[in-house]
Symmetry: C2
Subunit: 231 residues, 2 copies
């Protein structure tokens, strides 16, 4: 049997642990969901791919740490980002104990400063064609994907992956890429229509089809007050 609770809980000689954040930064491009990875130019695990991560500093909130790491790598601030889960197996990092809290962000790829991304040796990979990742980073991807699938069905979060103006075929492809299944376009549009937060513009986007598709944008007011988002 273990020592009583009170003794463990005393603020004395408690073991400390290195804490990291690892960010799952999703982008959407050419009909595919992509994930931003970094090529490690340093030991250990030099030359392998990993999630974007960094250590939590002492005077820094956990959320701040995640935003700092994201900002350092991409120059993006104010990104929709949420905690996913914490990975804490004692030996998940074979070199040293590191506890890692994962965060997930949905970003618009073109908003990136490409220079910055390049200088950090970061690269986008399609989610179904990831290279081998270090440690338990594949598990992190799986858990973030699982969460993303749930979240995108029950809340209007997917729009963070699209530009301000987007077409319905683009939006549908986004959903299909994340959910991994085909969606009937009539039913899809019907649902979106019933939620009433899309504004049809008089412009068409012809970059993705011969005929061209109407562009839409969000009605910010309505978008911020959606009650029962559901796809």
């Amino acid at each position: 049997m273990q020592k009583p609770f009170q003794i463990n809980r005393a603020y004395k000689e408690v073991q400390q642990i290195t804490v990291a954040v690892d960010c799952l930064i999703f982008g959407f491009n050419d009909g595919k969901l992509e994930l931003l990875l970094v090529h490690r130019g340093f030991e250990p695990e030099r030359d392998r791919w990993s999630l974007i991560g960094g250590f939590v500093l002492n005077e820094e909130d956990l959320d701040e740490a995640a935003h700092r790491v994201l900002s350092d790598l991409t120059g993006l601030d104010d990104v929709y980002m949420e905690q996913v889960r914490t990975f804490g197996k004692a030996h998940r990092d074979p070199y040293e104990r590191v506890l890692s809290v994962t965060y997930s962000a949905l970003v618009l790829k073109k908003d990136y400063n490409d220079e910055l991304v390049k200088s950090y040796q970061a690269e986008w990979f399609p989610i179904d064609g990831l290279p081998e990742l270090i440690f338990d980073h594949k598990d992190m991807v799986d858990s973030a994907m699982q969460r993303l699938r749930r979240r995108i069905k029950s809340g209007p979060v997917g729009f963070n992956l699209l530009p301000k103006k987007f077409t319905l075929p683009q939006l549908q492809k986004l959903y299909e890429a994340i959910l991994g299944e085909e969606i009937d376009k009539r039913n899809f549009r019907k649902k979106l229509n019933s939620m009433d937060f899309l504004v049809k513009l008089d412009e068409k986007d012809k970059s993705e089809s011969k005929k061209g598709a109407y562009l839409y944008e969000l009605d910010e007011e309505k978008y911020n007050h959606i009650k029962n988002f559901n796809i």
Copy 2:
């Protein structure tokens, strides 16, 4: 601007943080959802109430730490327990930086060793009548409740709060207590029936009503293969 990613990421002189787990142990009694709290008999915050928590040991997986803390306090092993979220504000604990990972468990109160609970000065409180809690423990309760409400609607987890044999009125009260709303009993029973994992027994339980209600138990085989649980 922050230092480049690579430098932060080097395994050198990284700041370490004390990591705790805090457990939200829910029980169900007399139609009320309850939460197990401990009365702190030690500094800091002596004599105030807190969640059941403890520090993560160096050679211990995070999940193990949660189970150890739960086991120490209640003698219960093999409890359905899942990670909720991680609280990491730099000053959430004003005495010292402590990162806390919360876990939530649904247990059957009577399975407890009362002696053990007493010796640890633990006590059950109805969820809507909690005392003031230390630090951000109230936020932890809120976030665990939010999650519990979601989980109980989409998966058959609530049964962990009930004995092996239970009545439908008990089960319904459990759902009402957690969801905080009344449920129509005919619709409730219809749904349960359609999922087809309850076995009606020939016994009645008369402890909670004059007429007595039929006892049910889970068909373990079917229970473990429920596809679309939904209430």
